[in-house]
């Protein structure tokens, strides 16, 4: 029983980890809280679903990230060319996407893919026999590994370094003859391409697309990143990227465990909000406790307390 819950959480975690990589780019590399995510996740689901219904799931997997890329560009343009505040820029795109997503889904709020051929079933045919039962795990794991590798390689290129520097010190970036605006657009585009791709994989895995599935995704992604960082720290880029993945898997396992107790799934979004709040609060509380302790120790030693 619990093993099934674990593997289920693991699989979901691998798929959501793709989204976490995207949110890592906007939130941690560019330092931009990007709320486009809620819309672009569903966008990926929607694009994938319509193509999968048509019997072309692989095309859907290919086009979903391109749709996300475009969504990210819109937010980037709002942010840089119209100087809209980052949060608002994301909200604008997300809101607009709701209509677009409905349009893509041919005006129906959900699409079931139960009878369509899935990428998993197609991937299964190319796997050697003894691996076939694990396809639901292997396929997302391989995709995630490939994307992670590509992302890490990209971040070490001139372009990738320019992107990182933009979130780190914009003045320095401009002084190095790099257009900070262009980097922000590029970063948001890449981030949302990953998010949409994650949405497409999720639609495939769950075999349905739902117009409201993306609500609160940004919270899930952020919580995952912060949880991962609590374990791995933020020492290097490799560390940070692995943290996003680990955090994602842990988060989904916890969620699966919680709901395996029979808790009503309507609490899903509330739980994700609570988890993120706790994840944000823990470091502060830890700090406060540490300060309190050292402060008290200092008082005992008779030193002045400058905290």
């Amino acid at each position: 029983m619990s093993l099934i819950i674990l593997t289920d959480g693991l699989r979901l975690g691998l798929i959501y980890a793709i989204m976490a990589l995207g949110i890592f780019i906007s939130f941690r590399i560019l330092n931009i809280p990007d709320l486009t995510v809620d819309g672009s996740f569903t966008l990926g689901m929607a694009v994938f679903a319509v193509f999968a219904m048509d019997g072309r799931p692989f095309l859907g997997l290919l086009l979903a990230p391109l749709a996300g890329l475009a969504a990210g560009c819109v937010t980037g343009l709002l942010l840089t060319k119209l100087k809209v505040q980052p949060i608002l820029a994301g909200i604008l795109t997300m809101t607009g996407l709701y209509s677009i997503n409905l349009l893509v889904m041919k005006e129906s709020p959900n699409i079931s893919l139960f009878n369509s051929g899935t990428v998993f079933s197609l991937a299964e045919t190319i796997l050697p026999g003894f691996l076939k039962p694990y396809v639901n795990f292997l396929f997302p794991a391989l995709v995630l590994a490939a994307l992670t590798l590509l992302l890490l390689l990209f971040l070490r290129t001139q372009l990738g370094m320019s992107l990182r520097a933009t979130g780190d010190n914009e003045a320095m970036v401009r002084a190095s003859s790099i257009s900070a605006d262009r980097m922000k657009i590029l970063g948001l585009a890449l981030a949302n391409a990953l998010v949409s791709f994650s949405g497409a994989m999720m639609a495939q895995y769950q075999e349905f697309a739902d117009i409201s599935f993306g609500i609160g995704m940004v919270v899930v992604g952020l919580a995952s990143i912060i949880i991962g960082e609590a374990f791995l720290g933020r020492r290097s880029i490799v560390c940070n990227v692995l943290a996003a993945i680990l955090g994602s898997v842990l988060y989904q396992i916890v969620i699966s465990l919680v709901f395996s107790t029979g808790l009503n799934t309507l609490f899903m979004k509330l739980l994700s909000a609570v988890i993120l709040t706790v994840a944000l609060a823990v470091p502060l509380v830890k700090d406060a406790v540490k300060k309190g302790k050292s402060g008290r120790a200092a008082v005992k030693r008779g030193e002045p307390n400058d905290a």
């Binding site: 290129t157 320019s162 990182r164 010190n169 401009r174 190095s176």
Partner: protein
């Protein structure tokens, strides 16, 4: 060669807070000139450099670099030809990136940023040599995040980054003012060495009159947005801090601030 023609910058025009920070200033820097700029607080020294670098647009007037009109070029495009250091040592480097990554970014200045390696093997050797020249031991810490360095080390690194691809023009805005006196002297002589070695045309704002006369070959004096004095040649060679202070009070409405007297 840098030419500023009737450079004027007005902040908040048409409001009660309107402020003419730069008032019809014209000057020319010939290739290889090392020009120092002094003036009291709020005289418009930073505004002058910002207008040249493109951080602020000129309200009127023109900027020409090597004969090309760059008045309308955005800041990051001008940065292909202009190296820049700020007073704040934190402004010039990316703290969460390593020393070699920062240098790698600076080394790509003026080129298109593509998918080639951010820090190439051959570059790394060059960086090591250049860092060794700074004599701060940074050549052994190339994988250290810049955020862990001291202000002086960061400013030295920024200087290296600004000049690693020799710029047509180097702008220095009180770049040693935030450092302790000893580090400040070190960075100043390092600046002088690098500028001389590559014969970089340089415009340096300083609040240290001694430095303004000691380094470079020309001195501009600003007061309330106007260029009130230009010192060069033998007049400058024989100028003392005291004489300059007297000359300033004879020409300007305000006084050079206390922090200038050094």
């Amino acid at each position: 060669m840098l030419e500023l023609q009737n450079g004027t910058v007005v902040f908040l025009p048409g409001t009660v807070n309107e402020r003419v920070a730069l008032n019809n200033v014209s000057f020319t820097l010939k290739d290889g000139d090392f020009v120092t700029v002094i003036g009291s607080n709020g005289a418009g020294k930073s505004t002058l450099l910002n207008a040249v670098s493109g951080a602020y647009p000129l309200t009127s007037g023109r900027v020409l670099l090597d004969g090309k009109d760059i008045t309308r070029l955005p800041e990051h495009k001008r940065a292909r030809y202009i190296g820049r250091l700020f007073q704040d040592p934190l402004k010039g480097t990316a703290p969460n990136m390593t020393i070699e990554e920062n240098l790698g970014l600076a080394y790509g200045r003026g080129r298109r940023r593509g998918l080639s390696a951010g820090v190439k093997k051959a570059d790394r050797e060059l960086f090591r040599e250049l860092l060794k020249d700074l004599d701060l031991g940074l050549e052994d810490r190339m994988k250290t995040k810049v955020g862990l360095l001291s202000g002086g080390q960061r400013q030295a690194l920024t200087l290296l980054m600004a000049t690693i691809v020799t710029p047509s023009l180097l702008l220095l805005d009180e770049h040693t003012a935030a450092l302790d006196p000893k580090t400040s002297r070190q960075i100043m002589s390092l600046t002088d060495r690098i500028v001389k070695e590559h014969e970089i045309t340089t415009l340096m704002v300083t609040h240290n009159i001694q430095n303004a006369l000691e380094y470079g070959n020309k001195t501009l004096v600003l007061s309330q947005g106007r260029l009130i004095l230009t010192l060069e040649g033998s007049e400058r060679d024989h100028m003392t801090v005291e004489a300059l202070m007297r000359l300033y009070s004879a020409n300007a409405a305000d006084a050079l601030s206390d922090r200038m007297i050094l």
